[in-house]
Amino acid sequence: MNIVVCVKQVPDTWAEKRLSDSDKTVDREGVEGVMNELDEYAVEEALRIKEAGGDGTVTVLTMGPDKAVETIRKALSMGADQAVHVVDDALHGSDALATSNALAKALGTIEYDLVILGVESTDARMSVIPAMLAERTGAAQLTFARKVEVSGTTVKIERQTDTGYDVVEASTPAIVSVVEKINEPRYPSFKGIMAAKKKPLTTLTIADAGVDGGSVGLAGSGTEVAEFAARPPKQAGQIVKDEGDGGAKLAEFLASQKLV
């Protein structure tokens, strides 16, 4: 089974994130980039499926600036076989629609049965790329998986819901997004880190991937960040002093907030 894992380099989870004043995109220069945490689970799941099946390849796919190669290297260190990096200045500022367009085109250059992604990235948190990729490629959509079972050309998942889970089944090719409950990602070992240096890495411009320049980037995006502002500082809470009527005052407050 050939599997593609989409990974994304995001600003360090704990770093203070900013938008650039000039074009209102995420400032990726000033902060350390890390692999989007949920993508680690996606890589792990791909490796487990491959190891259980005993054949096929795991290809890492990312779209991002030159620096994103660090995230590719981490996925290769964990054990993925090869990587495709879509890198082009024209991609800067792409929204989810434009990104899914470019990724779908890049997927067209790779042979795959399964595409696995984290359910969302910690920077944009749109959680729509898996569904968009399924739409654009015509592959089955299996999202929010907390468990994946592959048997021949059938993929069965447990889809996490608010109250429990649904069992959803589809034939390959399929796009699977995973939640963090699914596994415990491995650490890149020293051996893996050294082996990653020798693994094939293909770099694609948008022209190589067959992406129309007008359909990506800030100009090619369907959405636009009109304005942004820093989150206002937290307001001091209201303190209720109990003078024998504390309970009544609390009930009054809850009622005024329409909580009871």
Binding site: R73, K74, F190, I193
Partner: protein
């Protein structure tokens, strides 16, 4: 000049070590200190992450790195909040199996070294006896050949990880000559006649179990002897160099951690209306601590680089690195407790643990005085 300590691969290795330490060690360390030992599951997890045997060739079950990679694993664990006691417990194989690996004996490698590197077996090294510590030539535990076996009788003490061990690489006397009468033999701990007499209670290194061992007519297969009869002293002396450099890493690693914790504390602690770090006496103290750590680390790194570049016989240098780093560590952990004030004396503060743990570093792996004798001999004959 390229910084061999921070190549892209080593930066990635440091990240793996940090992630592992934060997830698998730090949350449980207090519990293990109370338990008096680390669980076997930690050895398995560390093996799965490829952290055991970093500098052992892949053909022998290791990761294929070198002494620099090995030091990076240890220092990064300490910088991230592990302790020297934890390292001594988790990496005991670092002193228990090098002689086996070096011997090239496939039987012993497959039976003991590889399982230790896979986190499946725990090994100890037993040198010290009630009447012989740094003076290895004085040991009395005796192995007498009887057919295809040796019969071992004697006692060992202060043996790290021995209450959990599956095998103990034991220094025994097979002849009467002080040095040439010494041999190394691997003893399975389930052998009849082998007992852990007691678990020793210590000042620090609480999560690292330490045992006193008795050997009463323990029959050990002759093929468990490492190298030939009488080659033990040479093997032990050769591997001591690595152990000493390892303890130097413990010392500067712990010192760096204690320094980091202290800087954080004095930034946050307000006294007389200002953070402590605003006071000149505190600032100067932090500078002295930083200088002690950085100079010590730089020297130890240099020795590792020379070893990786193929230089042999750096025994005096390894011993100097140990003494230099231990002295720096003792200074830094003491000042760290001082600058933490009353909090530094509490069991809840991490520097209190480092202070207790650090005291062994100038004693274990050859005492400071023994190191000085060794250095003097190399310098002045």
């Amino acid at each position: 000049m390229t910084d061999v300590w921070n190549t892209p691969e080593r930066v990635a290795l440091r990240q793996t070590v940090r992630d592992f330490t934060v997830r698998e060690i730090v949350p449980y360390l207090d519990q293990w200190e109370d338990d008096g030992e680390v669980p076997r599951s930690l050895h398995k997890a560390a093996a799965a992450a490829g952290l055991l045997g970093i500098s052992t060739p892949e053909s022998l079950g290791g990761q294929g790195g070198d002494a620099i990679d090995n030091m990076i694993v240890q220092e990064e664990m300490l910088y991230t909040g592990a302790s020297s006691g934890l390292l001594s417990a988790l990496f005991t194989h670092g002193i228990a199996i090098p002689h086996i690996l070096h011997s090239g004996d496939r039987y012993l490698i497959d039976r003991y070294a590889k399982p230790a590197l896979a986190g499946e077996k725990i090994g100890s090294l037993a040198v010290t006896e009630p009447d012989a510590g740094s003076d290895v030539s004085a040991i009395r535990t005796r192995a007498v050949r009887d057919g295809d076996e040796y019969v071992v009788n004697g006692a060992k003490t202060f043996i790290t990880s021995s209450t959990r061990a599956d095998f103990v690489t034991t220094v025994v006397r097979t002849g009467d000559e002080a040095h040439h009468g010494i041999s190394l033999i691997v003893v399975d701990t389930d052998s009849p006649g082998f007992t852990v007499v007691r678990r020793l209670r210590k000042m620090g290194w609480l999560c690292s179990d330490t045992g006193e061992l008795a050997y009463v007519d323990v029959r050990v297969p002759a093929r468990n002897m490492i190298g030939g009869e009488g080659s033990g002293f040479g093997q032990v002396a050769t591997q001591f160099g690595g152990e000493r450099l390892g303890l130097a890493v413990h010392a500067y690693g712990v010192a760096q951690r204690a320094l980091d914790l202290t800087i954080e504390h004095v930034r946050n602690r307000i006294a007389f209306g200002k953070p402590l770090i605003a006071k000149q006496v505190v600032r100067h103290k932090l500078v002295e601590m930083t200088r002690a750590v950085d100079v010590s680390r730089t020297y130890a790194h240099t020795i590792a680089e020379r070893i990786v570049n193929g230089e042999q016989g750096l025994f005096a240098e390894a011993a100097m690195a140990k003494n230099q780093c231990v002295e720096a560590c003792e200074f830094v952990v003491n000042e760290a407790v001082q600058l933490h004030g009353g909090m530094g004396y509490m069991r809840d503060s991490e520097v209190e643990r480092h202070y207790r743990d650090a005291r062994i570093l100038g004693i274990g792996g050859g005492a400071t005085e023994v190191m000085n004798d060794l250095i003097a001999k190399a310098l002045f004959g």
